[in-house]
Symmetry: C2
Subunit: 404 residues, 2 copies
C-alpha cells in the first residue's frame, strides 16, 4: 500500500497569510459598507516598468515567429540574464561571481524550499524567531524539523529576535549545520550591518555550517553600512548560498523570476554544492519562460534601473508614513528604513491576534499578527509598505484614530 509523507501531517493548521486573508474577507462580508485597507501581505502594487513591458512584448512576438521561436532554454537561465545579474548585482559592488554560479528560477520561495533537496535530512537547522514561515515548513516537510510540540519544532534551533537584542539573532550555543538568515528581514524590517554579518560568516567557517541567505529585499537598503549581498564579506563564498528575487526589486510577484547563487567554493566533504544544485534543477525544473527572462533582463537597462528605483522610493515613502504615523500614535516601531516592512509593538501588552482583530474591526485595516511568524513575534504586528500612498495614509489615519 502506498504511504504518504507523514511529515506533512505534522504541519499545523493553515498558512498564516491564508488565515489573515480569511479573517479579512469574513469581516468585509459582514461589513460591506466599510472598505478594508490591507497593509498585511507583502505584495507589490505598482505596475511593471515600461522597459520591462517593452522587452516582454518583443519577446512574446519573437515567440510567434519561426526565426524567433525558442523551445527549451537552459535550466539554469539564459546567458543574457545570468551575465546581466553578475555585472549589475555583483561586479558593480566589487564582488566576483561567475555566471555559472547563478541559477535563474521562478521564485525565491521555490528556491528556499527546494534547496533542502541537496542537504541530508539529519542537519541541525537554525532559524530566526520570528521568521518567514517557508524556511520552517519546508524543513518540516522533509523531516528535518522533528515534531511540532507546543508551537515549536523539536529539532529546530530557534534564534529569538527580540526588542532586547535589536531583533538580531545571536550565535547559537550549540553547533548548528544550516542557518537561515534574511536581511533586510522579513518580518521585522531590521538589517544586519557588515560587522554583524561577519560574525555569522566566521561562525559558519569555524563550524563548517552553511548559511542560506535570503536577500529578497536588498533593493530597499538605504544605509551605507548595510551589505546588499552576503558575499560582500570576505570568505563567504565557502559558506553561503544567496537567494535573490525580482519580486520586490522590480514588481515581479505575478511575473515570477528570481535567482540563487551557489559559489563553486562552497564544498562539503569535497562535494561542490553548485554541482548538486545544478543536478537538482536540471532534473526537477525546466527553466524560466523566455519571455519572463527578457523582462528580467530589462530590469538592468538604464530605463529599467531608473523606473524600478522610482517604485522602490515610492514604497520607502509609504514605509516612512507608517513609521512616523505609528510613532506619533505612541507605538514602538522598528524596520521600515531599509525594508518595506515595519514591525510595531502592540499597545498595552495586547496579543498579536488581539491587536490584529482590534485594528481590523475598529479601523477596517488588515495587518499581520507578529506571532504568526513565530513565538517571539507575540506582542508585535507587521505592516507593509506595498499599498498605494493614498491607502497607506488612510490606513495610518484610521489606526491613529482608534489608538487615541
Amino acid at each position: 500500500m502506498a504511504k504518504v509523507n507523514d511529515n506533512f501531517l505534522k504541519l499545523p493548521g493553515s498558512y498564516l497569510f491564508s488565515t489573515v486573508a480569511k479573517k479579512i474577507s469574513a469581516y468585509q462580508e459582514t461589513n460591506p459598507d466599510k472598505e478594508v485597507i490591507k497593509i498585511s501581505i507583502g505584495d507589490v502594487t505598482r505596475p511593471l516598468a515600461k522597459a520591462v513591458v517593452s522587452a516582454m512584448e518583443r519577446a512574446v512576438n519573437e515567440m510567434g515567429t519561426s526565426e524567433g521561436f525558442r523551445g527549451y532554454g537552459p535550466e539554469q537561465g539564459y546567458d543574457f540574464l545570468r551575465n546581466a545579474i553578475v555585472k549589475n548585482d555583483y561586479n558593480k559592488r566589487g564582488i566576483d561571481i561567475a555566471p555559472d554560479e547563478i541559477f535563474v528560477s521562478d521564485g525565491a520561495k521555490s528556491d528556499c524550499g527546494n534547496i533542502g533537496d541537496i542537504f541530508s535530512v539529519d542537519n541541525l537547522v537554525a532559524v530566526c524567531d520570528p521568521v518567514y514561515p517557508v524556511y520552517i515548513d519546508t524543513n518540516a516537510m522533509s523531516g528535518r524539523a522533528g515534531d511540532f510540540i507546543n508551537g515549536r519544532w523539536s529539532n529546530l534551533v530557534y534564534m529569538p529576535c527580540t526588542e532586547e537584542n535589536g531583533f538580531l539573532p545571536q550565535l547559537p550555543n550549540e553547533k548548528v549545520d544550516i542557518i537561515y538568515l534574511c536581511f533586510p528581514n522579513n518580518p521585522t524590517g531590521v538589517c544586519a550591518t557588515y560587522t554583524e554579518l561577519k560574525k555569522w560568516v566566521e561562525y559558519a567557517r569555524e563550524n563548517k555550517a552553511v548559511i542560506l541567505y535570503d536577500s529578497a529585499y536588498e533593493a530597499f537598503i538605504t544605509d551605507k553600512d548595510v551589505p546588499h549581498s552576503i558575499y560582500e564579506i570576505e570568505g563567504t563564498k565557502e559558506v553561503a548560498i544567496e537567494f535573490r528575487s525580482f519580486s520586490k526589486t522590480a514588481g515581479f510577484t505575478g511575473t515570477r523570476c528570481a535567482y540563487t547563487v551557489v559559489p563553486h567554493e562552497l564544498r562539503l566533504d569535497g562535494v561542490e554544492l553548485n554541482g548538486l544544485w545544478n543536478r537538482r534543477q536540471c532534473t526537477k525544473f525546466n527553466g524560466v519562460p523566455y519571455v519572463i527572462q527578457r523582462g528580467a533582463q530589462a530590469v538592468y537597462s538604464d530605463e529599467g534601473i531608473r523606473e524600478c528605483r522610482e517604485n522602490i522610493e515610492y514604497y520607502l515613502n509609504n514605509a516612512s508614513i507608517i513609521r512616523k504615523g505609528l510613532q506619533s500614535a505612541g507605538l514602538s516601531v522598528y524596520g521600515g528604513t531599509n525594508a518595506p516592512y515595519i514591525w510595531a509593538k502592540t499597545p498595552d501588552n495586547m496579543g498579536s491576534w488581539e491587536f490584529f482583530d482590534f485594528v481590523l474591526s475598529e479601523a477596517g485595516v488588515g495587518i499581520t499578527p507578529g506571532v504568526g511568524f513565530g513565538p517571539s513575534g507575540e506582542g508585535f504586528v507587521r505592516l507593509t509598505a506595498f499599498s498605494t500612498k493614498e491607502n497607506t495614509e488612510e490606513a495610518i489615519k484610521r489606526i491613529q484614530k482608534i489608538l487615541k
Copy 2:
C-alpha cells in the same frame, strides 16, 4: 558540520540528453562543413499560435498599467485557466473533474519530480524500462531508489517494455506502491488502449497503489480506442494522479505551463493527496506568471485549438515520414502514429550507442540511443517528429543512404 544529501552522489554521470548534445557538438566542431540535423531531443520548433501570442501581448500590457497589474496569483493557478482546462480537457470527454483538482504549474517535469515530496521514502516504486529518466532520477535523489548497481537501482521495480510484449509493461509479480506510467509513451511512442489501462487501474485499486500517469503527449493520439486521460477508466480517481503539459500540445517548451490533476477521491489511510499537494505547492511554489497563464488559456480558444491542431498534424506528418522512411530502409519501427516519438530497432544487432555514432558520423543526423532510457532500450534508438518537415525528410534520406 553540514552534510549533503548522499543520494545525489549515487546518481550516475551525466544526463542522457546532455551526453547526446555534447557528442553532436563535438562532431559538428570537427566537421564544420557538414550540417548536423537533430531529430534527437523532444523539443518543438513551430512558433506559438497567434491566439497565444495575442493573449500574452494583452496580458503583458495589462501588467504595465495600474488597473491591470497583477501581483501574486493563486499558487494553484487562476480560475480562468483551471476552468478552461476542466471544460476542454475533461468535461468535453465526459470526465467529471473539479477546478480545485487542477494544479497549474511551470512544467510536467517539475511536477513529476516534486510529486515525490508528498510520498513516504519507503514506497516501492515501479517504472517502465525504457523510461523517461526524470522518474528514476528524482526517486534516486529522495532515497527511494536505493543504490545504483550494474546499471540498475536496487530498490526500483523495473517493468521491461520489449518487442515481445509490444512495449507494454506487464503487471508486476510483487506488490508495488507507486507506478509511473506514460502514454503515449516516451521513448517508445507506444500507447495503451482502454483495456490495457483498465488492468492497471484494477491492480492499483486491489493493491492500494498510486499510479502517476504522465500524458504529456495526449494531443498526438489519433486512434479511437486510446484514452486521452486515465480518468476515462472508471474508478481511476481513487488511484491516479495525472500530469499534463502545454509543452507539446501548444509548443510551450520555452513558455512553461503544465498542470497536474489530484482528485479528491485519492486518499491513502484517509488522507487526501489533493490537500498534501496543495500544501506542497503553497509552500514551495508561487504560481505560474499571469502572462503565461493567459497564453495557456488562449490555447483553448477556437482559434487556439485550430492553430495548435495544425501544428500537431504537422508533427504527426513528420512522424509518418520517419516511420515509412525507416521501414522502407528495412528497420523495424514502433510508435509514431499516436505519438511524436518513433522507436526503431537498430540493424544487425548494433548497440544503441554504436548505431547513434554510426548515424551521427556517417549521416550527420543526431538521434537518441535507446539504452539511455534503460537497459531494455538496448538495441533501439528514439527519433522525434519535432523538426521541420524539410529537415525530417533530409535526415531520413541520409539515414536511408547509409543503410543501403
